[in-house]
């Protein structure tokens, strides 16, 4: 029944009032909470689509093999789509958080080094060469290749001693180059249909993907995620600037290499398999930051998981909203993303006054 508030107790030698852990403990539950939310979202996305399934029907069909149509829907349509949603979302959320932490810039996104545009360019070139019609994996393969070509050029031009500013500039330069190549391909399209195919692909989608897409991209994304997650502590130290981070024992050149390689491995395949999906990597870290006490290291896991949740629900929205014409995934994420930036803007304005 006591309601007395504890006094600030700097006089007390045992300092019970000081508890650095209190902040920690509150933020420590978030990865678990998000993981549970993601699992629920994932299961839900198994049930929703042009054919709605009950959990019972799904289990009967997939586990006991009583319903071959349900089994087909599960293995050929729902599972690959849901897995890709989770993996692509995780890659984008995680890389966004890493980029914002590394560049110490809240406006950095997963594509800031040009990997996304490079991947889009690679896939678009596959359209142009006609390879997309020859075999299904041509697009993701071309995308992965395009992403790597751009990042290698960015790193080569920026040089070994590149500062963050130099990297950003090189990234912008090569992104523009890749965009212009995409425009050129559109420009040279033999007919409107070919151009529409490309434009629709660029808007991003997870429909009509199969498990092959998963097996092609996952082996690249996982090492990418690991490289990015390992950089967590360096990002924490970097909140005080590069010199302080170096004085705390971090080899910044190695940190940079790990982040560049990790982000290319995570984002290149993600964009290559899904098309351009904006805003996820930009917004998610902003939403998560207050939950984990703004710590750039803790931000990584939660941003990855939240990115996966956001993309899973965006894809669910695609399935629920779409009528005869499929609403593209990138359109949904942008529709969700833009208002969120207004919200951020208003919050910043309020704080400034």
């Amino acid at each position: 029944m006591q309601t007395e508030t504890p006094l600030p107790s700097s006089e007390h030698p045992t300092h019970p009032a000081f508890n650095g852990d209190a902040i920690d403990r509150k933020s420590r539950c978030w990865p678990t909470v998000l993981l549970v939310l993601l699992a629920i979202s994932f299961l839900f996305s198994m049930l929703v689509g042009s054919v709605f399934l009950t959990p019972q029907r799904l289990v009967e069909g997939v586990v006991f093999g009583q319903d071959s149509i349900v089994k087909l829907i599960f293995w050929e349509i729902r599972l690959p789509r849901a897995l890709l949603g989770v993996f692509v979302g995780f890659s984008l959320g995680l890389t966004g958080a890493v980029m914002q932490g590394y560049m110490r810039n809240p406006l950095a996104d997963p594509g800031v080094l040009g990997v996304s545009t490079g991947a889009a360019m690679g896939a678009v070139l596959m359209f142009y060469l006609g390879a997309a019609n020859l075999f299904a994996l041509a697009l993701p393969l071309g995308g992965i290749l395009g992403g790597f070509v751009i990042i290698v050029m960015v790193v080569t031009i920026a040089g070994r001693e590149a500062s963050v500013q130099t990297l950003i500039l090189a990234g912008i330069a090569f992104s523009s180059l890749a965009s212009s190549i995409i425009s050129l391909v559109l420009n040279l399209s033999p007919n409107p249909h070919a151009a529409m195919d490309i434009v629709f692909w660029l808007m991003g989608s997870l429909s009509d993907r199969n498990l092959q897409h998963v097996w092609l991209t996952l082996p690249l994304m996982i090492p990418g995620w690991l490289l990015l997650l390992v950089s967590a502590r360096a990002l924490r130290a970097l909140s005080l600037g590069e010199e302080t981070a170096a004085s705390l024992g971090f080899n910044l050149r190695r940190v940079r290499s790990m982040i560049i390689l990790g982000s290319s491995l995570a984002v290149g395949p993600a964009i290559a398999v899904s098309g351009s999906i904006g805003f996820v990597g930009l917004i998610v870290p902003h939403v998560m930051r207050p939950l984990i006490g703004n710590d750039p290291a803790r931000l990584l896991w939660v941003s990855g998981l939240a990115g996966a949740i956001l993309l899973t629900w965006s894809d669910l929205a695609v399935r629920l909203i779409s009528g005869t014409v499929e609403i593209k995934l990138g359109v949904i994420t942008a529709l969700v993303g833009a208002p969120f930036f207004f919200f951020l803007l208003f919050r910043m304005r309020k704080e400034a006054i």
Partner: protein, 268 residues
């Protein structure tokens, strides 16, 4: 190029000899020496661009040196692992903005990183050291405050606490008082002095000659990447030296047994 030796000297913790740094064919440091003893505060002074910050960065291995040797606690600096060096030498950088609104306690806890394994969280002992560091610089009442909501004086002290949380033997501070009001400048200089008294050794880059003369045991005056004078403040901040290093006239006098200097007017 004169220096003087203080009698009854304790063991040196940092010896830098003949440090030369070249950058794009420019000689930024042309052979600078420094010998820092335990419990000592050495002030690095000199005009803008004379190489003070570069010298600190060369000691910390941030920038490669062309020539010269650096010994820290009796061992060549190259023989240290980066984290091991981080436990011995803390650095207060000129850059003093924290990008994210983390709490003061978390920022100070960054100083514990060199003691932790990659996935390790702050232990109770870490938090105790963090708390002690915050109490030393009187910011413990701000523990839960976001660092972006601190005043300049508070922020400088919090960053100082971060360096103390690394429990270093040697503290290298690059212009720690710049941009602070007189109260906070004096407070910070007294904190530096206090650290030296408790057995740490300090090298501090300063622009304020009055404070440099008052708070440092010895001064090193740099000009164009070379040592113009080094030794006691009374010896270093002489009229001739200041005229040569800064092109200024300074008034110097003794007050209560302390040598005091006031930069007075521009000569050249």
């Amino acid at each position: 190029m004169d220096s003087q030796i203080i009698p009854s000297n304790p063991a040196p913790v940092l010896i830098a000899k003949g440090i030369q740094v070249h950058r794009r064919h420019r000689h930024i440091l042309k052979g600078v020496d420094l010998e820092l003893r335990r419990g000592e505060v050495i002030g690095l002074v000199g005009a803008n661009g004379s190489g003070k910050s570069t010298f600190l960065k060369a000691i910390l291995q941030f920038i490669p040196r062309k020539q010269g040797t650096i010994e820290i606690l009796g061992r060549k600096v190259e023989s240290y692992e980066p984290t091991e060096l981080a436990r011995k030498v803390a650095y207060l950088a000129q850059e003093n903005e924290c990008r994210w609104p983390i709490t003061v306690a978390r920022l100070v806890a960054l100083g514990r990183i060199p003691y932790q394994k990659p996935w390790q969280e702050n232990s109770e002992e870490d938090w105790n050291i963090v708390h002690e560091a915050m109490k030393t610089v009187a910011v413990d009442h701000l523990a839960g405050r976001a660092v972006t909501r601190l005043s300049g004086g508070e922020r400088h002290r919090v960053l100082f606490a971060r360096a103390l949380a690394s429990e270093p033997e040697i503290l290298l501070a690059d212009e720690p008082t710049t941009g602070l009001d007189p109260y906070h400048q004096l407070h910070l200089m007294e904190l530096l002095r206090g650290q030296a008294q408790s057995g740490r050794s300090v090298v501090v880059v300063l622009h304020d000659l009055t404070q440099a003369a008052r708070f440092c045991d010895r001064l090193i005056l740099l000009k164009d990447g070379a040592v113009l004078a080094s030794g006691t403040p009374a010896h270093v901040v002489s009229s001739a030296h200041l005229l040569s290093a800064y092109g200024i006239e300074a008034k110097s006098f003794s007050y209560a047994g302390e040598h005091t200097v006031i930069p007075w007017s521009v000569i050249s």
